[in-house]
Amino acid sequence: MTAPLPHTHTHARPDGAGTRRASVARGYRFELVKLVAQWRIRLLVLACWIAPAFFVAAVSQQSTLPVDTLFGRWMHATGWAGPLVMLGFAGTWALPLLTSVVAGDVFAAEDRLGTWRHLLVAVRSPRRIFAAKAFASLTVLLLLVAGLACSSAAGGVVAVGNQPLVGLDGHLLTPADAAVKVLLAWVCVLAPTLALAGIGLLGSVALGRSPMGLLLPVLVALAMQLAQMMPLPVAVRLALPSYAFIAWNGLFTGPAQLAPLLIGIGVSLAWAALATALAYLLFVRRDFTNLSHDGSGRRAVTVGVLPLVGLVAMTVAALTTSTTTTTTDTAAAADTNTAATTATGSGIGQAKVQSSVATAFAHLYRMQTEQLHRPAVTEAQLGATATCDKGSGQIAAQGPGNDWRCVVSWHLPGVQAVGQAIYQLDVTPDGRFMADGDGPKEVNGYFLVRTPQGDAPNPLWQFDGNVELLSTSKG
């Protein structure tokens, strides 16, 4: 038998001495090889690069358009509406699902296959394994998102054409402007996609083989979408990365509503960084000698969740402070209800709604005038104004709801009478609204207008718009 020897403490060793670790680049290639070898990843790549084109082309040929979806009502008019409809769908369903399948499984797959020890022995650095896996999953996600964007744009332009796009405030974007803004919109949603990817990595590390690890991005995205449908204060709404999935709407107004978009992107990137950092910390502390423990302990979940909750709280506090100090600007000061303009309110106030409706109406009236070959008129000449109330004036004119009613008035050059049209508005908590016209048939009372080329959709009958929830820029 061996004689017992006195215990000594382990020596500290210069980092890497005697060890040849695999580089991150090699690990990255290795992870890509494994990902691409999976049939589901191959199918996803194919689907993302092919299916949107057929979907957009097919929907564009239908007589009934998805008018409930932003830009859906313009799918007959321009091919650039298709990728934006697809973007709306992607933000709701496709991107959370894709991040689940790719990022949500990238660590859990090793648990499922029992390959952690093999990988660790080969790479000899948990840090490099983490980096390689994160970069590889990010690469595949970017490939999938690029596929969705390119394919839907190609399908729209080929099926409908490279026509001008009507923006959310009714102004016309040239095809080139539309293309640039569509590209920018897709680039912007990369930020919340990265946030979901970070959550996917965190779930994959913290929950291991549990199906919850795979589903976490979808569940988090769903929960955040539900939250966005609730009448939350603006600061809370913007503190969630899901807002960036809709903040791109602001690119399609003139001037662009950049403040909420940039805040949404910043919040999303902060979530992505924090979730990834938490996943990293959990991963490098994991004990791989005991594979029955895959990291799904209560502590792992706690360590993963609490910092993100803290981030939301800090963001809400920061937004509340910063936006409250900016409510003295002209737009906010003009609002009849100051509370609605601060970050603690809904962000939807009477003055903003009136301004948005009047602006969109003026742009679209000019467009209708050109359709009907009437004498040209400018928005300035029209001097359109809107007077809006909510609940027939029985309740305060603020907040979301489908009981907004606006009376739009305008002047035509050389005509004494004031034109008036009525709109019923359905304003959602995220600031989007659909205006349904109820006025003179030749203006907004009927869904078609008779043009010299035949009947055409009436741009003033129904239109979409949005109210900028923050008062930091003029909406």
Binding site: H7, T8, R13, G114, R117, L120, P126, F288, N290
Partner: protein
């Protein structure tokens, strides 16, 4: 550091929560030797192998692998390869792709000839381009060994490498390990197959409840004076039984070994007494057709050294 030691562990202790997996373990593995690691389930074998592979760090004690002290980081010195709890393979890749990806990952020369050679050594050339998803356990074990061979290891650590192997696979694996040792590499392997260990290992360490209860050359387990049961098959069982009864130190055992064959005698004896019996049988003209321990020396030692530990839990 002893220049001839591939592994030198002193007082290694490893805790999992409140459970001590390794309790002051000392281990010496000589270069160019095959060292067996045996013990009951939960004895700490996999934990110890994990330390050698750099998958965990000890809570206390010192560990030197291939002359390099192992620190707190989760890594192992270059030249160490192997697997614990079965090889890690990616089912969506073929055998060849698994090896090529691994070679590329390590930055080794991923020439196809090297991969072909590794596959040939473990007898998987015919299935080199089949996906690992369809591999049996034995084929997976052999592919895992091929993956380790690709790195040209100086210390090979294997956990139950014989699991699921058919005779041909076993022959391949034994051949590879023996050749590696002959070329100067050290091999540490754990197994519950005592026959494998006895066939391969020159040294063995027996663990029980995280402690080393024996460590040294296999030959030391079969001490001269230690009694073992032997099966003796002769041409004349009656004469053999009579002669055995006459030799001092030999006891006849009515056991399972003779149950189905009247020509087989089971005796319990130390080695000198057994030698004496052989001499007398030969002198009496009784041909010896088989002489083997009923329970291998290693297994006997294993049972003797570990059962009290288990009973004492």
């Amino acid at each position: 550091m002893d220049a001839l030691l591939a592994v030198r562990a002193r007082g290694i202790t490893k805790w999992f929560g409140n459970v001590v997996a390794l309790d002051g373990v000392d281990l010496d593995v000589a270069q160019g030797r095959i060292h067996g690691l045996v013990g009951p389930n939960g004895a700490g074998k996999t934990t110890l192998l994990g330390l050698l592979l750099g998958l965990a760090v000890a809570d206390s004690g010192s560990l030197e692998i291939l002359g390099t002290p192992v620190g707190r980081a989760l890594d192992a010195p270059d030249g160490v390869a192997g697997f614990v709890d079965g090889p890690g393979l990616y089912p969506s890749l073929t055998a060849r792709q698994n090896l090529a990806a691994l070679a590329a990952l390590r930055g080794d020369d991923a020439r196809s000839s090297a991969i072909d050679d590794a596959l040939a050594q473990v007898g998987l050339t015919d299935v080199a381009d089949e996906r690992a998803r369809g591999f049996s356990l034995g084929m997976r074990q052999r592919l895992g060994l091929a993956a380790a061979l690709l790195t040209k290891p100086r210390l090979l650590v294997l956990d139950e490498p014989s699991n699921g192997l058919d005779p041909a696979g076993k022959k391949h694996v034994h051949g590879v390990l023996t050749r590696l040792a002959a070329e100067g590499a050290s091999v540490v392997l754990s197994s519950h197959r005592m026959d494998d260990l006895e066939a391969l290992c020159s040294d063995v360490t027996i663990l029980a409840t995280g402690r080393v209860v024996f460590s040294g050359p296999l030959s030391k387990l079969t001490a001269e004076e230690q009694e073992l049961d032997y099966r003796v098959r002769t041409c004349d069982a009656h004469a053999a039984r009579r002669l055995a009864a006459e030799v001092a130190g030999i006891r006849l055992v009515d056991g399972a070994g003779a149950r189905h064959d009247a020509r087989v005698l089971v005796v319990r004896a130390p080695a000198p007494a057994l030698d004496e019996l052989v001499v007398r049988l030969v002198q009496a003209g009784v041909a010896i057709r088989e002489l083997s321990p009923v329970v291998s020396p290693l297994e006997a030692a294993f049972l003797a050294l570990t059962e009290p530990e288990e009973a004492g839990r």
